[in-house]
Symmetry: D3
Subunit: 134 residues, 6 copies
């Protein structure tokens, strides 16, 4: 009997950013993003979930150390202790949590493929975003 589970790894990265769109005027930026137009920062909590059929012999379908390693290479090393505006791949996008969750999905997808189930980012304890590849 094949059983499908969802496995999640949680990591925290501490980055700075500002919300500012080059396609908007200074005034529009301030109106839309408020105090977030200033450079500031967060301890972003990242939860990446993968889904797959458990191998009965091993009791897993992907080793969580492998998931952790993929997250380290493609996300943590790029974003942790960085100014997000300085990350080359993020240069052309507004670094809202919404866009970050999509960016992280796109970073991970080539390595996790159809197993990738969900990317969740908590920007603060009160604001969070989920992206499921839809």
């Amino acid at each position: 009997m094949s059983r499908q589970v969802i496995l999640t790894r949680r990591e925290v990265f501490s980055s700075s950013h500002r919300l500012y769109s080059d396609e908007l005027s200074e005034e529009e930026n301030k109106k839309i993003y408020g105090k977030c137009v200033n450079n500031h920062g967060h301890n972003y909590v990242l939860e990446v979930s993968v889904k797959g059929v458990v191998d009965p012999k091993l009791g897993m379908f992907m080793n969580i150390t492998e998931l952790k390693e993929i997250m380290r290479i493609y996300v943590m090393d790029k974003l942790d202790h960085r100014n997000l505006e300085g990350v080359p791949e993020l240069k052309s996008i507004v670094t809202t949590t919404e866009n970050l969750s999509i960016f992280i999905w796109d970073q991970l997808y080539p390595h996790l493929k159809q197993h990738l189930y969900e990317v969740k980012i908590l920007e603060t304890e009160n604001n969070f975003v989920i992206y499921r590849g839809e």
Copy 2:
């Protein structure tokens, strides 16, 4: 390419209530609701999630300050620091977390429409309820 994310805002409201159904006898109320028939209270943690396609220019589909404001007007101002039995719209219902989650959904739906994805309430750290409009 259109990408759909789920955005969640967390708020806490501190309210009192009792579980008591007028359609039940005193004895039945005690049997079903136990010590919850007494007036008591909670720090209710409310998580409201909305779902929508991200505008690439803005990096969001709904401004979280807008979501926060809608939650403030239609939920927080009505329920926070109140006795739920004294809230007019709640008079005829038993204020279980189940009913509260449906009530909050109904309060928010006219203002968030098809974007409203999920209402989650944690009554305590051990008991919580999700309503998704089904």
Copy 3:
């Protein structure tokens, strides 16, 4: 060699209350206590700490099950799932977290004596009070 440790037990009680002093006018009550003059409630997190010299044979100086039992009898059974205004011993006091912490200290002291070290109450995740018998 005698070693002194501090042992803490955490419990949660869900109670309702209002802040209202009979010695103040209606207007003064509203000015001082704000929206807290309405009946509302909290999941109060209570942390009771005791201090003592560890018995090397047992690896403890007080069994935490004993501490838990004392807290149950003298605090939890009196306050949990209650309206604090209806608790006889609390009738004459304003049930601020400050007064609650002192009240709980006084409830526990006869049973824990010089071992009682600290009573901490978190009214919400943002507001808390410590009383150490000073």
Copy 4:
């Protein structure tokens, strides 16, 4: 109008285990499970979710005390403060969180039937698994 909610009960059990598969060599076990081949332990956080249509008269579809009792009998009493390797039903499986979530689902299903919606286990604050009966 029938409304379907998801109700969740959270419990914590403190158990020990090791990850070791009899179908693998000593070397393979160490390579796959790393330091988890040693006997060690966790405070497992278990969240069991049930789904059903709310009875408007009672404001619930299943009493959470009933859910809690089912979890106590079929999960907590079997696993809490135990070495998982010593639990008869777990003897033939590797006690990964993945397998535990499936095991707990199978324990609860006969008693919750189609109401059972999700079993979530947090092994640590950074690693967790969800099983939804798929």
Copy 5:
């Protein structure tokens, strides 16, 4: 009988910073502060504690709304959603959590005087600093 309690207010501010001392060489900065020499950020959790004798009539010695307001004016408005390097009063210091806790103490002391008991800052969930004016 006079009773002294400790009252704590918790706030969160989201700021960016880098650790870099002008008195050190580039190389020394990297060696001492590691990846923290890059501009990055945190959700700093700030807990300010005040100590005083409870007024029996009011059940408090300082209104927590007053404490919150003092924290807003002298700390939150200056640091939240800012790059700490751009805060004039912080220009000449390395913005370690140690220095921040002392800075915040010095900001608050003129307004809370002998009531000020403790400033605690959690930079991350794993690293925190307490300053008590010693």
Copy 6:
């Protein structure tokens, strides 16, 4: 002006143990330690605090990476993912949280000396112990 701060590092180790004293009869062990006489386990949360005068040039008195390294060598590597009964230095003691906090103090003291201020261990979210070298 010399300023003294308290710096804390939090780590989590996942270990198994049982509470059992060789100096007690089987019956006494069961009576005193209850279900803890069975081999079981915890995610122990360890918070080690050091106290010292901040160097104004560096903004710290001890680098937290140094503290983390000392904790890794003298505590984490010895206890994490282990059965505490199998740790040579713990063989002759009952591994209560009280004794563990003293043991960890004694492990760290030679390396942190007078800076060592407090060892706190949370065995579960509800039970914790502090040892301050008294």
